[in-house]
Symmetry: C2
Subunit: 251 residues, 2 copies
DNA sequence: AACCCTGGTCGGCATTGTCGAACACTGTTG
DNA sequence: CAACAGTGTTCGACAATGCCGACCAGGGTT
């Protein structure tokens, strides 16, 4: 595979930097972070500005992401097959389980949320479509990692006392998920919150995403602290349904 | 202003093409659309693929937008000041008016929706954050055009019988909006739907966005087919409130 | 099996973008 | 108040870089 176009790869790195960093960044911060000369960085940023991918705060001169990216991002949702096939099954799952449903896929060792239906009750919730979740601390993420060909595990930062922060423990958990066909996380990212997820298979049986629910531990888990079997069944059935729609073998 | 980085500008054009076009495109379609040699187009697309901005359907070989863009798009929302300042005022406006609220800004002669709160009732609605609306056929758009320094009017395609499709009629309508300080659209984009919008001013009094409501004509308009004065007042007050938050003079 | 179409590759030429230094500006500091 | 340390921006020379067109490889269809 021949090399990449240098300037485009650099431009992408700048955009990722702006997305990851805390909001605005100065030109020099960008140049230093990517180890580029000022002039070079400026040229790239200028064109990114011209095409609307980057905006500049006139007073401080700092740069941030631009409006054009928003439309590109939502356009991606329109063509994403995993999402479009999932939508019909996510709503029933939310209704039956009474919990929030999320569908995610792996984006360089993180979980990208491509669809999200709120918990049926009327509590205030924020839409996290487009958010990146830690793979090792969420049911969605662990399921995706379990079936991931490339073995990257991500950062393994501990969020709570129950987070699986050691590679050995995590790989064993992933093996268990492969064995069972589904996974869960119990207060591993947020205290008081648990989740259940199952893999979605696309054409050829390859795992292309995961669907899962999450909610308060006391509702998601039974008296023994284990995920309720009825909820697990609902999630796995939804995953199979989506897989079937995608043309995969559905488990 | 020195020139742009050629390859980056071309890459952006390809992304826009993929976003605008109907889903997947083949390499040759891309090359032809932008009048590039095959090889050149392939090099750019390959790097876009490597950085995750573009995905390829393995069976058909065609290209589509990639997952990385989704996260960039939502990251833009996080740093967008117009959106963050508006959120607190959009909910009350929706509650008081009983209609859906949208906040938009101008993105090369189209209206980019940066925030959207659903109509308070429980009817099925689709989130159109990130969508591009026609400027000449929506209240949001006409308000934005009215205060736009660069005079581009967009495409002026007629959607309904009442769409303002002629430049002369439209420019006169824009002048009226500047005079009144608010604007409306009555069945100009969709039959049975009307909207009211007012400009949001940022630092220095410059119009940086617009906020508006939209809903069924019979609720938004009175017996004479004119926008209800109470609703207009609510919208204008919300616009002023957001402007004040942004540090502008608020009208 | 010849033909069209597709996407992908390769290498020579020169266009293109990179690079470092100099510029203009702001706010801070000695 | 001047020198300074920051910033973003511009410029021009050099050559590395990415562009281009011809060539290769696979899949359908005729």
């Amino acid at each position: 595979m021949p090399g990449q176009v240098q300037s485009i790869a650099r431009a992408a790195a700048i955009l990722r930097l702006l997305a990851g960093g805390s909001g605005r960044l100065g030109l020099l911060e960008i140049a230093r972070a990517l180890d580029l000369p000022k002039g070079t960085a400026h040229g790239i940023v200028r064109t990114l500005h011209d095409v609307g991918f980057v905006e500049q705060d006139k007073t401080s001169g700092k740069y941030q992401l631009g409006a054009a990216l928003l439309h590109l991002g939502t356009s991606y949702l329109d063509v994403n097959e995993l999402r479009s096939r999932s939508i019909n099954w996510a709503d029933p799952l939310a209704a039956r389980s009474g919990e929030a449903v999320r569908i995610g896929t792996l984006l360089d060792s993180k979980v990208l949320v491509v669809h999200h239906v709120f918990r049926p009750d009327d509590t205030l919730q924020t839409l996290d479509v487009g958010a990146l979740l830690p793979p090792h601390a969420t049911a969605l993420g662990k399921v995706l990692l379990a079936y991931n060909a490339r073995g990257g595990l991500g950062d393994l930062v501990p969020y709570t006392r129950r987070t699986l922060a050691s590679p050995r423990v995590l790989t064993r958990a992933l093996a268990a998920i492969r064995e069972a066909g589904w996974g869960s996380d119990i207060e591993e990212m947020t205290v008081g919150v648990a989740g259940i997820a199952a893999p979605i298979r696309g054409y050829g049986g390859l795992v292309v995403g995961a669907i899962g629910i999450s909610g308060p531990v006391e509702r998601v888990c039974d008296a023994h602290g284990q995920p309720r079997i009825t909820l697990v069944t609902h999630v796995r059935e939804a995953a199979r349904a989506v897989s079937r729609d995608l043309g995969g073998r559905g488990q």
